[in-house]
């Protein structure tokens, strides 16, 4: 244990009396727990929903091989107690987003420290800490880079004050009809997995998209389309049902996806006037390529030949089909998991076969895993540094020295000021933040006749706006309840469209998340079509300071995958990271960075006025930024 009697007793005392919540027991969490115990903190609660995987062991040093499969929070606690058995550590193998962890729960802590890897949880904890008025230290790492910052209601910007760059996603026609890059094929293969074995999502269709605007007006394809629907064939049967008819016969699956569907696409000849057309594959004639790849690679880094892809496809389908047969009842679907061998083999094989068909460079299983699984490379040292910096911020908070708190960046090389660890002053809150401002407001563009209440709740409120138990009332003078967080109260509303409730252009909705103590007014704008086939777009009020990284993001469309954080009771289940559908922050009419309204000029905590967007951009460009 550290000799903490090295600073004036005030800090010592505050440390001893404090109660700390650590959210996450992974890369940052393990290092943080160690630092906290050694620094004299003796009342800690650590929560993590995940279990230990072998790939964690290169950095999550509280875990060893024998712990693989066990709860991270539980084992982290056990190992940390080895540094000082007299410390009180409570471990929760659970999701911090569960209703049990309400505002009262959060209020018991002196400081909350996030050690998370996804935006939904960060956003949620942010709101809970704002509601409970508890200081929050936020952090993140990616590769060699990391950041730490302090969040306090009324004193600093919150996690949601600044727009985050959106998750990369692709239009449906690119995935289904005209892929041009490996990632398009990988996304398609993941969708195929879900269509065959997982929870089928209508946004994840894998068959040719006849509604592709690029293909429109082509007499040939229209004729074929008419033919197809007249024959009343696959278009009416779900992919899964169709596969079950043949008991997942690999040759039949192969024939449809890599031959028949490809021929169909070829008939949509408008698509191929400027593109390399795809070449259908034949089950009886799979090319056997001789690879001239370098030796000395990891097995997974060798790119499979089409024949090897077919082999892997066949064997993985067999395993996955068997697995899905063994499930019964409600859970009759598999969840794709990058760490599951068969799931990974399936996606690698199918995406590479599709790449072959479309003359796109193939990728090794190693690379496919990174792209399909959104893997962020991670090492011990970055997490160690960041966890150390978190504790330093905590010291300042405990001493009441909020003015010394900083947003700290860990750079991969010295910045313009020769700093690899570079602090910058905290920004004050965005007065128009859609979470922490006095009257949060957003605008959502969508098609009121097509968007169902269920979709609105799942994709907009929960997915994009990170609410967890919303109550929604239509501001129509009658107090019409659209969505109730009470079970069963509004079930009959779910399948109806918004327009069924007379929601139209300009209608306002009053949304409340009782759990997060968060009220949000939403103005609906009715749009028949949005850019790139998006289902919705969220617009916050123009923010004064647009970070360099702010990018237009999308509403739900075929994206890489969806995630619902839930406690992991199965060893193989894992939360996908950073996949949240994001909010678009668009400037209003004034499209000028340098225009400033004096009333909303931000002031930094130290009292020096920022020069607005220009200075923030400069500050950001001095340091390596990762999006938390």
């Amino acid at each position: 244990m550290a000799d903490v009697n090295v600073a004036p007793s005030l800090l010592d005392d505050s440390i001893r009396k404090s109660k700390i919540l650590v959210v996450g027991a992974g890369g940052i969490g393990c290092e943080l727990l160690k630092n906290l115990v050694l620094s004299g903190f003796n009342d800690i609660l650590v929560i993590d929903l995940d279990t230990i995987d072998v790939s964690n062991l290169n950095r999550q040093f509280l875990f060893q091989k024998e712990h693989v499969g066990k709860s991270k929070a539980v084992i982290a606690r056990e190992s940390a107690l080895g540094f000082n058995p007299n410390v009180t550590i409570v471990a929760k193998h659970d999701s911090v987003m569960n209703s049990e962890y309400n505002v009262t729960f959060f209020k018991q802590f002196t400081v909350v420290m996030n050690a998370l890897d996804n935006r939904a949880a960060r956003s949620h904890v942010n709101r809970m800490c704002l509601a409970a008025n508890v200081p929050l230290i936020e952090s993140g790492t990616a590769g060699y880079l990391g950041q730490v910052t302090a969040i306090r209601k009324g004193l600093s910007e919150c996690y949601d004050c600044n727009p985050k760059a959106g998750q990369k996603s692709f239009p449906g026609c690119t995935i289904r009809n005209t892929p041009s890059e490996p990632i398009h094929c990988i996304v398609w293969a993941k969708h195929l997995f879900n269509q065959l074995f997982g929870e089928a999502d209508p946004d994840e269709d894998v068959s040719p998209d006849t509604a592709d605007p690029e293909a429109a007006g082509d007499a040939g394809s229209v004729a074929l389309q008419n033919q197809a629907s007249e024959a009343g064939n696959v278009t009416r049967v779900s992919t899964r049902a169709w596969a079950q008819q043949s008991e997942y016969d690999p040759s039949k699956l192969f024939g449809k996806f890599f031959c028949d569907d490809i021929k169909y696409l070829l008939s949509m000849d408008k698509l191929w006037t400027k593109r390399t057309p795809p070449t259908p594959l034949s089950w009886d004639n799979i090319p056997e390529e001789i690879s001239d790849q370098q030796g000395g690679l990891i097995k997974d880094q060798k790119v499979w030949s089409p024949a090897e892809c077919v082999q892997a496809m066949v064997s993985s389908i067999k395993i996955l089909y068997q697995r899905s047969k063994e499930l019964n009842g409600e859970e009759s679907f598999l969840v794709w998991d990058k760490d599951d061998e068969a799931s990974m083999d399936f996606v690698t094989a199918c995406s590479n076969l599709r790449s072959h068909v479309f003359s796109i460079p193939k990728k090794s299983r190693f690379d496919v895993k990174a792209m399909a699984g959104n893997i962020i490379p991670a090492i011990a040292t970055t997490n160690a540094v960041i966890a150390g910096l978190i504790v330093f911020e905590a010291f300042k908070i405990l001493e009441g020295k909020w003015e010394e708190c900083r947003h700290v960046y860990l750079n991969s090389k010295p910045n313009a000021l020769n700093k690899v660890i570079a602090p910058s002053s905290l920004d004050s809150a965005n007065p128009k933040c859609y979470v922490c401002s006095p009257h949060p407001e957003v605008t959502v563009l969508l098609n009121v006749s097509q968007m169902t209440v269920q979709s609105f709740e799942d994709k907009v409120l929960r997915g994009a706006l990170h609410m967890i138990s919303p109550d929604v009332m239509v501001d129509d003078g009658k107090g019409t309840v659209l969505i109730s967080s009470e079970e069963g109260e509004t079930t009959e509303n779910m399948s109806k469209s918004l327009s069924d409730f007379n929601i139209s252009d300009g209608t306002r909705l009053r949304c409340e998340d009782f759990h997060q103590e968060y009220d949000l007014n939403i103005t609906i704008i009715d749009r028949e079509h949005l850019e790139e086939n998006r289902e919705f777009t969220v617009i916050a009020d123009p923010s004064q300071l647009q970070p360099k990284a702010a990018v237009e993001s999308s509403g739900p469309q075929p994206s890489t995958s969806s995630s619902k954080p839930a406690p992991s009771t199965r060893a193989t289940e894992s939360v996908e990271i950073d996949e949240d559908l994001d909010v678009i922050f668009q400037k209003g009419t004034a499209n000028d960075d340098h225009q400033q309204e004096p009333s909303i000029r931000k002031r930094s905590i130290s009292g020096q006025a920022d020069i607005g967007s220009a200075s923030k951009k400069l500050r950001l460009s001095e340091n390596d930024i990762i999006e938390l």
């Binding site: 244990m1 550290a2 600073a7 072998v54 290169n58 997974d300 040292t381 160690a384 540094v385 910096l389």
Partner: protein, 337 residues
């Protein structure tokens, strides 16, 4: 010098090191796999370096320290029941458990008894808690055998380290403009920017030269201002250690602070900087070895060792300073050039 034997990575290693191979590449991992590192001094900083290097997958880590484990130490590798044993023996089990694939060796002898032959068997030498004269001696030996050398310390809320990589060749990835959009693609293109590998060479100086340097006249005004406090504090602490044969301790807090001020004034006088103010409040914060300070300095230092061994990415040259009580910054400066 990295061993020349051909090293392959097993499937088990590939699974364990997956997340880091994805960052620094298989080649770097292979070079780590061949590296034999000597770590002198296993206090709080040493424990962090030992943890980080063991996790990274080096070939062997030799822990050298003759001192006895005490309670309330910042070395988290020592179970309470091992207090009273030699520090490296007390830490061995926990270090080894971090990564069974790394050879962990212990040596309880006093480093001052080690001669040239001893050091020549390592690919990297990292010293902590040493009097600067001893560091200088070891650095000179390392230089003779072309061995990269580090020496670092944590005092209270902050710390620093020095690095000498002699003549160091490294490669780094540099971005080149991405390919143009393909025809007919309506989607927003995910242009992967291409990178190319560029090689550089950096020259370093011995510790003796760096320690005897006067950066106030060598650096430009802005750089000197930025590191002045760090540099003077470092020198004061190292000279305190040499003179008093111990580090500042809480039991002698007031007199040690006075002694540090005296040493600092002497240093400033020697540099003809008597009229330059250096905040004495900083000496309030140099007692003990705070865990978060060890974590920060140990993390940066260990990553530098990984860079040096892998010859990948630009290493720090030649000093790093961190202070968690004053400017909360980790600053790099080339001193003695």
């Amino acid at each position: 010098m990295v061993a020349k034997e051909e090293v392959t990575i097993s499937e088990a290693e590939a699974a364990l090191y997956d997340r880091q191979i994805r960052l620094w590449g298989l080649e770097a991992q292979k070079r780590l796999r061949a590296a034999r590192v000597l770590l002198i001094g296993l206090g709080g900083l040493g424990a962090e370096i030992a943890k980080n290097l063991t996790l990274s997958g080096i070939k062997s880590l030799t822990l050298l320290d003759h001192s006895i484990a005490v309670a309330n130490s910042a070395n988290f590798l020592i179970p309470l029941e091992n207090v009273g044993k030699n520090v490296v023996e007390a830490s061995l089990e926990r270090v080894q458990r971090l990564n069974p694939m790394v050879d962990i060796l212990t040596d309880t002898e006093n480093v001052t008894a080690k001669n040239e032959d001893f050091f020549s068997g390592f690919d990297v030498v990292c010293a902590t808690r040493l009097p600067v004269e001893e560091s200088i001696r070891i650095n000179a030996i390392c230089r003779k055998h072309s061995i990269p050398f580090y020496s670092g310390d944590v005092f209270g809320f902050g710390g620093f380290f020095f690095v000498d990589l002699l003549e160091h060749e490294y490669s780094e990835e540099v971005n080149v403009p991405a390919a143009t959009l393909k025809d007919g693609c309506t989607a927003k293109k995910n242009d992967p920017s291409e990178t190319k590998t560029v090689k550089h060479t950096l020259n370093y100086i011995p510790l003796q030269a760096a320690f005897e340097a006067d950066p106030s006249s060598q650096l430009n005004k802005r750089s000197w201002q930025r590191i002045k406090s760090h540099f003077i504090t470092m020198k004061s602490l190292l000279m305190f250690r040499s003179q008093m044969k111990r580090d500042p301790e809480a039991a002698n807090r007031q007199s040690d602070i006075a002694k540090l001020c005296e040493i600092r004034d002497h240093i400033l006088h020697e540099m003809k900087l008597d009229n330059q103010m250096v905040d004495s409040g900083i000496f309030e914060t140099v007692f003990g070895e705070l865990s978060p300070a060890a974590a920060v300095v140990g993390g940066v230092l260990a990553q530098e060792i990984i860079k040096a061994v892998s010859h990948k990415d630009a290493p720090i040259r030649n000093h790093f300073f961190f202070n968690g009580a004053t400017d909360f910054s980790g600053v790099v400066e080339a001193i003695g050039f």
